[in-house]
Amino acid sequence: MALVSTNAWKSSIEETIQGALRNEFKSSLPVFRSKINQIRGNQFVVIRGNSSNPNQTMFAKLSSTYNLNIDFFMIDRKRNDNTIKKFFKIVSRIEETLYSLLEIDPTFKIQVNAISYEDDNEFEGYRKAVFEISLRSVR
């Protein structure tokens, strides 16, 4: 008989983040899970799982730390103060959403370890913020 196992990456991690961001932004910011880059609109978020490390524990549970990237893209043709303000407003809102809402779901110790800001090389005219996050989940 096959073991009963949880698809942790999908259910506990990526869909949890996707759900938290969708609840906050509704339809104004589409949130996808993908490994490849493709333009999905004027502004969008792509969640990419990178790696996981086991947390040593004496409990009969599987505890791991998951490392992910969240890429936020926003088109900016005007390149003025207002569009830069809007870009960073969404960045801050994503960051605070991750810290505020994710503990409602079975994840903990969420950290936005770093965010880098750049003009995307692949999509001309898009600004890009790459969030490096880590979080724990037990199953």
């Binding site: 609840n23 906050e24 390149r79 103060d81 830069i84 303000k85 960073f88 407003k89 960045v91 801050s92 809102r93 960051e95 605070e96 959403t97 810290y99 505020s100 809402l101 503990e103 409602i104 950290q111 936005v112 370890n113 770093a114 965010i115 880098s116 800001y117 750049e118 003009d119 600004r127």
Partner: protein, 169 residues
């Protein structure tokens, strides 16, 4: 339910820095935010954050280090000492403004260290001298926190539509 959030990078990091420099230079030095150089005068200062790193995570707050890049550009067709001296003078003045405003003020602001300066960098701008000033800025933000409502027998409080009852922590 939308959370309340601040535009940290723009309102708390970039704008105070720009305003302090604008107060000092008045209209003599156009200052703007962008990743790319804009041709807006004989000399200009471009401000843009390149990255941020988490320094400390507390129960309801996080402290980040913001790495801010500022490119001072002075246009000169002649490779002369005069333009070089103007650049050195302005950059020293920027450094002094940063030192004098390293903490406190109307908006809590703290430079994690004094800026590093590279002169005569190649930024791909024709007929100009460019100095790059890198400023590390620390900022701590308190965030909202929500948890599920737990009943006395350790069960989650579930509403009639199946959603959880969520309370501010």
């Amino acid at each position: 339910m939308a959370i309340s959030s601040n535009n940290i990078t723009y309102d708390k990091i970039m704008t105070p820095l720009r305003d302090k420099l604008r107060t000092e230079f008045k209209g003599a030095l156009p200052i703007y935010f962008d990743t790319k150089h804009q041709d807006i005068g004989t000399k200009s200062l471009r401000i843009y954050p390149t990255s941020q790193e988490l320094q400390e995570k507390r129960t309801s707050s996080f402290m980040n280090l913001y790495n801010i890049e500022m490119d001072y550009v002075i246009n000169t067709k002649l490779d002369n000492e005069k333009a070089l001296d103007v650049m050195y003078k302005d950059v020293s003045r920027i450094e002094t403004v940063l030192f004098n405003n390293s903490n406190g003020g109307s908006i809590p602001y703290f430079y994690a260290a004094m800026p590093t300066i590279e002169h005569n960098i190649d930024a791909g701008i024709q007929d100009s001298y460019v100095s790059r000033i890198s400023v590390p800025v620390l900022y701590e933000e308190v965030h909202e926190k929500f948890v599920r409502f737990v009943t006395s027998n350790d069960k989650f409080f579930v509403l009639s539509d199946g959603s959880f009852y969520i309370v501010r922590s």
